[in-house]
């Protein structure tokens, strides 16, 4: 049987059996609901604010429109007229309005301390209305009025280059890293427990009589990895759909290369760490011991993550360059650099090649550890012993 067929068969079983498991389905639904909630909730947690302005007497023509034009997009402005000052002050006291403008008294009335922004908005609107009234009283034609009101041209210009998408890019990179971290912990854990289950129940002995250990592990990583990518895609689509329906999320306008590199390095990172998990799983013989080996496996990732986050302002520093080339850290560091920095094409290619080489060597070595450790039961097996025992078995 070809290696591809053996790996494919193992991968297919992983996908089918995981997808069939109740625990996986339940956790998927829970996470899915969580993601949808994440997308929809901001609408309710942070609803549009409303500003209510009271005016004593008739509201001057155009006052409300001018006021609304100075408010921010998600601020809803309403203007209410009160027959006299007493009625207006009562509404202010009851909290029906935020501010009361009393044109005849020439006062802006507050319940407590004046609010600078709202006060300025009310004054600006009143000024504009008064300006138009005065202009009309002076007998200016609408054309002359417009000429008089034309503001000077004032565009923004920065001395340093700015990137309007920088926020989105960094968010994508950091978000991608967090998702990578979570997904590797969860699905890497599947690989680990899967390997330990096969070892402890001695299924491995039947398996290894037909399949090479490295093919077995590769199939496991591939199958569970496919499932991880599929779940993340589903969650991503759910997030975007729910977000756009609820109008809380708009796709960050980040270039396709950034998205592709983040996804690509996600896959590489998963494969690397899943391989490590598989090797770690080969070393333990009891399900209870499995958790003990997960931390050392995740340590390089955790360290890279922290270093990378603190270097987000200097993505092309020598440290980040080194981290983006070393296989255990590059799946985190390289996408960060691609998105926020400027790595050369050669560096990216070198990083990918090193990752692939690491995965290949890792799977072969893990396969040897797996086969070697299989015949040794009892306590945790030392890597050296397992590799030595691997000489006793076919790899």
């Amino acid at each position: 049987m070809s290696a591809a067929r053996a790996i494919g068969l193992v991968a297919r079983r992983e996908v089918r059996e995981r997808a069939r498991s109740k625990g996986f389905r339940i956790s998927f639904v829970v996470v899915l609901l969580g993601v949808v909630a994440l997308a929809v909730l901001p609408k309710y947690i942070n609803p549009t604010t409303s500003t209510d302005v009271g005016v004593v007497g008739t509201v001057p023509n155009g006052f409300e429109q001018v006021l609304a034009s100075t408010a921010s997009d998600d601020d809803h402005v309403s203007v209410t007229s009160y027959p006299d000052t007493a009625a207006g002050e009562k509404a202010l006291d009851d909290g029906d309005i935020d501010v009361l403008w009393d044109p005849s008294a020439g006062q802006v009335v507050w319940k407590g301390d004046p609010q600078a922004t709202l006060g300025a908005q009310v004054r600006a609107a009143a000024t504009q209305v008064q300006f138009e009234e005065n202009a009309t009283a002076l007998g200016l034609t609408p054309q002359q009025q417009q000429q008089l009101a034309t503001p000077p041209t004032m565009h923004d210009r920065s001395l340093e280059p700015t990137d309007s998408e920088e926020g989105s890019r960094a968010a994508l990179a950091v978000g991608g890293t967090i998702v990578l971290f979570g997904a590797i912990s969860m699905f890497g854990g599947f690989v680990l427990t899967g390997v330990v289950t096969e070892k402890t129940s001695r299924i491995a002995e039947v398996l290894l009589s037909q399949v090479k250990a490295s093919h077995l592990l590769a199939g496991k990583v591939l199958g569970i990895g496919s499932l991880a990518v599929a779940e993340l895609l589903a969650l991503g689509v759910a997030l975007l759909v729910a977000g756009s329906v609820a109008d809380t999320i708009s796709l960050p306008e980040v270039g396709l290369p950034s998205v592709l590199s983040t996804v690509g390095f996600f896959v590489l990172g998963f494969a690397i760490y899943a391989t490590l998990y598989a090797a770690a799983g080969s070393l333990v013989n009891r399900q209870e011991d499995a958790q003990a080996v997960t931390f050392p496996v995740m340590l390089p990732m955790l360290a890279t993550y922290l270093v990378a986050l603190s270097s987000i302002g200097s993505p092309d520093s020598p440290l980040m360059v080194a981290l983006s080339l070393f296989p255990l850290s590059s799946p985190v560091a390289m996408p960060l650099r691609i998105v926020t920095g400027d790595p050369g094409a050669l560096e990216v290619v070198a990083s990918v090649v090193l990752c692939l080489a690491f995965i290949w060597v890792g799977l072969v070595l893990a396969g040897r550890v797996y086969a070697g450790a299989l015949l040794r039961t009892g306590n945790r097996v030392r890597v050296r012993d397992a590799l030595r025992a691997a000489d006793d078995v076919r790899g």
Partner: protein, 322 residues
């Protein structure tokens, strides 16, 4: 033995650290032959079987199939049931058996059909969709056998296939193995149930301390023993055994009611013995048989035990590596 068909295990040697697990194990199983593989715990049975299945690389010696060294390709035609059972607890029976059959090279359709067929023959046809974990121990054992059988292997290597089975299940499994043997499959199985082995297989290989201490047809091994079992029944109970004291080299094995059995030399003068017995009381039964397989086993292992004590700890179990 180059033109041999079937399995040849040729002078396997395997050391684990300072423990010699296999010390030149040599025997053969032909196609259509059922061989019982016997030995005390730690004698090297499981280690030999793992070496046959390629799970373990021997330090020296080789495993041949049909005259050629066994490799991954030929081993795909081997079926294996390890001593410690290995099945996915949360996988449906049919899927599980089909999965292993596919790994052994069957197409998906063939694997599915084989899974149904073998599980059906083993009496699990109505539980194809059940998880293995929901089955009783004996039924899990049947599934394990189905896994070994599904790809219709040329050689079956079964480590303790009968352990933990109730008599009915054991009988089903025996029938199935005999059918396979008649169909030309070579079968090597280990067991501690010597009476069952004697009933089932014509040939045995007995190992101890990593060496083959006896091998061949059970009948020949029994006949080669220097002792016989003499059973005498009288027409009434309480006859006493003093009549036998005149027989040379005789040991009383068992006496109850009207029946007495003795271990006697193979060259015992039967006429004289019968005359002596008849002198004590009327004889209703008089039999002179080679000893049971259990005696053959006991003697073979005891004999090798003498050589083992001078050979250091070579008899320690390969499982002792654990």
């Amino acid at each position: 033995m180059a033109d041999h068909t079937g399995l040849e295990v040729d002078a396997l040697v395997k050391r684990f650290d300072d423990i010699t697990a296999l010390d030149g194990v040599t025997f053969a199983v032909e196609r259509g032959q059922l061989v019982g593989f016997l030995g005390p715990n730690g004698a090297g049975k499981s280690t030999t079987m793992r070496a046959i299945m390629g799970l373990l690389r021997p330090d020296r010696g080789a495993v041949h199939w049909d005259g050629a060294p066994a490799d991954a390709g030929t081993r795909r035609r081997f079926g294996y049931m390890p001593e410690e059972r290995g099945l996915y607890g949360r996988m449906a029976l049919a899927d599980q058996v089909a999965y292993f059959a596919e790994l052994a090279g069957l197409s998906r359709a063939d694997a599915d059909a084989a899974a149904r067929r073998w599980l059906g023959e083993l009496g699990l046809g109505d539980r194809l969709r059940d998880d293995v974990g929901a089955l009783s121990h004996g039924n899990q054992q049947r599934v394990q056998l189905a896994v070994a059988l599904a790809h219709d292997p040329d050689l079956l290597v079964l480590d303790e296939p009968f352990s933990g089975l109730d008599p009915l299940a054991a009988e089903t499994m025996q029938q199935l193995l005999l059918e396979r043997v008649h169909a030309g499959t070579a079968v090597l199985f280990s067991s501690h149930q010597l009476d069952m082995v004697e009933e089932l297989s014509r040939d045995v290989v007995i190992v101890d301390g990593g060496r083959v201490v006896a091998a061949g047809p059970v009948e020949q091994l029994r006949a080669a023993e220097p002792t016989r079992t003499l059973v005498v029944s009288f027409d009434r109970p309480g006859v006493g055994t003093t009549w036998a004291s005149a027989l040379p080299g005789t040991t009383l094995l068992d006496a109850d009611d009207d029946r007495q059995s003795f271990q006697v030399p193979a060259d015992l003068d039967l006429g004289a013995a019968l005359t002596l017995a008849a002198g004590a009381a009327p004889v209703t039964r008089f039999s002179f048989e080679p000893p049971d397989l259990s005696v053959v086993f006991h003697n073979a292992v005891t004999r090798s035990g003498g050589s083992r004590s001078s050979g250091g700890d070579s008899g320690r179990s390969p499982e002792g590596v654990s």
